[in-house]
Symmetry: C2
Subunit: 203 residues, 2 copies
């Protein structure tokens, strides 16, 4: 990353530092897990002084939950953008399930997973992670409904969309230790067929 110009306004510089810290935090979590992920390690990886890092994030929990939130929101934006750019003739359901499956199998998911695993036996971290996950889950559900053009008042629609998000989380887990892309593609195609039929029937 280029060094910030001295003429860059202070606020923009501060935002760039923050973004750099968030991106480094996600990579760090994904690569070394929670126990090796500290504010100091992230500051060093981001090329930011420890003091500056602590100015942005008071605690370790603040930094990492902000990082998982930031990449989660960015990924949902990406999905929206890519979905808007899909050619008319594409099977939208399959393309959209595939996008969610890809996101939940990437770096962000690996980072979030490390945080969930640690939060399972760390009550202080859990208190930060549970509301974060509720927010991200709600936003992902709303995005999936919107992109699939699904109406939640139809019978089973809400649960089918929830099942889709549970499925892609499971697929993300299956991709953690080995490259599961080929199998994942087949599972996604089959589920997309089942989901499309279900959404059509509820219309």
């Amino acid at each position: 990353m280029a060094a910030p110009s001295v003429r860059e306004p202070r606020q923009e510089r501060s935002r760039a530092t923050r973004r750099r810290l968030l991106a480094a935090a996600v990579r760090c979590l994904a690569e070394v897990g929670w126990s090796g992920s500290t504010v100091a390690v992230v500051a060093e990886r981001a090329g930011v002084s420890r003091g500056a890092a602590q100015h942005h994030f008071r605690t370790r929990e603040d930094l990492f939950t902000a990082a998982v939130r930031y990449v989660g929101e960015k990924r949902l934006d990406d999905i929206h953008r890519r979905a808007a750019a899909l050619p008319e003739e594409t099977s939208r359901v399959e393309a959209i399930v595939e996008m969610f499956a890809d996101v939940y199998s990437g770096l962000e998911f690996r980072a979030a997973l490390q945080m969930w695993a640690a939060a399972a036996h760390d009550p202080a971290l859990r208190a930060h992670v549970v509301p974060l996950e509720e927010d991200i889950g709600r936003e992902a559900h709303r995005a999936a409904l919107d992109l699939l053009g699904a109406d939640e008042s139809g019978p089973g629609v809400r649960e089918s969309v929830q099942a889709t998000l549970d499925l892609v989380r499971g697929l993300g887990l299956a991709n953690l230790l080995t490259d599961d892309r080929a199998r994942r593609g087949r599972v996604v195609r089959q589920w997309a067929r089942m989901l499309e039929r279900e959404l059509d029937a509820a219309r």
Copy 2:
């Protein structure tokens, strides 16, 4: 657990010690995660001397992967037993998906998850965990096919059953930090309806 009787044959005593270590290892992993789970901690929890523990399991990786394998196989046996006892009039597909979802939301899943999270950034552990997961995954898939009475040669059947196991893994993750039972029940019912239709169509 009762102290072993002095008249108990040595081999049976050794098997009981082994089982005690395996059960303690799974509880330990689920409760404190990988970094706090050592052979010494498990030996103490199991009420077994450290030397006896090391006689059974040479390394930490051996102990914990054996533990995850042991409970995984025991749980599949449980599912088979419970499925055989289902009343004739039950919706078998829903009951079976529910059993898998319950298993993947329990203590064993939490233990396995801690091991997966650690293996993601520990190559030595990963080398133990990947073949273990392949074995358990294969056995779970075979059990699900068998219990659902599904024939893999039908179109989409293999992928629908794989998707079911991916779904229950995702549901397990959703249950890690909060009690997700009520929502899980609704998702499982909807999934079972869709799966049953798919399996019927392939027959």
